[in-house]
Point group: D2
Chain length 141, copies 4
């Protein structure tokens, strides 16, 4: 992973106001794998006081998308074509961590997965898994 | 649709801080169908300035979940087991509107869909479709 | 819908040996919509004697794929990138009918849905819904 | 894994006529993991001569379902509530092998994944991934 790649992911990430709203930040960038984390803020909850599925989805989707971006030429961006989430347990704890991975990187499609963990009292628990498709596109076509 | 049902959906919705963060509100509640809308706020954007997929997902998932809730006995709540989203076009405009519908309501599972539209300059455009599964559970088991 | 389009769908369909194995046949071809039907054969069952999910999936996926094909230029084929199925009820009856529809037709992706019905004693019942993504590709690139 | 568990999976599998039609057989049964394999028969092809997505889906879904069954009490069966497949490459080769795994086993739902590989000339290639939900139910309720 070049510094340029980390920079590219970071720049794109920081231009997403939604990530700021959710308090999310990049934790790790490797070729084919990106980890994003976010606190479970008082402003990100569902009706029972757990983290909202929208929070879990948002960081899981971003981690998956940026993992795809690490496989692409420098002048490309990526967007989500489709993605599915299975919620396994409530988003209970101080922090969520989403680990996005590339399963298959092609010219037209990049197939990705994401695993989202909740961190509570020093324990880590898998709370959601995602599987989806990213589409690469050139930035200045 | 009784007033009690509308009240139940409204109360649950208002206890979700994430919905407030996104500026979302309930537009319509019918038996088996709920419409939720949200402005595309400056704080809900992705890197190209469109509404974030997390915004689209959040209101689509909520609309689907509350449509399921309208089919259940009064002492029940609902949670998302899984849901899939296909993104058709950028979330471009002033407002998003998500229409959640019940496809099949069972004792153990409620299968739902959601259609999300962007409103721009008086035009309406379908930007995403969702298909998923909600699980009913008793509030005081 | 030109006769050429019906012919193209029919030719492609008939070259799928799996469709023969399942006894499937094309019921209707329109622009953006294809219906495929198959008997629930004694050789297509699961362990409780209902039609196998693989049967439901196979005709649902084919109907969706051919609905996408009706939107494409003549020298193109289509393949499934991904698809999701929610099973609503057992495949109980004499016949299944899958109705594939195009939701959004783009140059790079075609988003589709499929509804699968079981026919029993003159009654029709929705037993599964599908949502997925087809990729167009030129036949002689 | 007790012999009883292997026997239970085997008995259920052998009562699925669809598995016979596809030439499928059980390769391995462990607690939380089941491998099913099938030749790519001349009767299981799509229009380009590769294995049909319906074949890939059928053994992937069965492997996932039986992996769920290994986690359940003896008097239970399992059915697919929903499942999603991403196709990564054509089903090209002599044989397909599907490895189903349990991600989270609950009382009401079992979340599963499946990876499907094609075997060709002694090489193994990942051609599809699946993610879904199984529902346990008692055999004699």
């Amino acid at each position: 992973m070049t510094n340029k790649m980390v920079e590219r992911v970071t720049n794109s990430f920081e231009s997403q106001s939604m990530m700021k709203t959710l308090g999310a930040r990049i934790h790790k960038v490797e070729k084919g794998k990106v980890i994003i984390e976010a606190p479970i803020l008082p402003s990100s909850l569902q009706q029972q006081g757990y983290g909202h599925a929208g929070l879990t989805f948002s960081i899981g989707d971003s981690a998956a998308g940026y993992s795809a971006l690490t496989m692409l030429p420098e002048d490309h961006e990526v967007m989500t074509a489709e993605i599915k989430i299975n919620l396994l347990a409530p988003a209970d704890g101080e922090m969520l961590q989403a680990e996005g991975c590339v399963v298959k990187s092609g010219k037209r499609l990049v197939v990705v997965t994401s695993e989202i963990y909740a961190l509570k009292d020093g324990q880590t628990k898998l709370i959601a898994i995602m599987q989806g498709t990213m589409i690469p596109f050139p930035l200045n076509p």
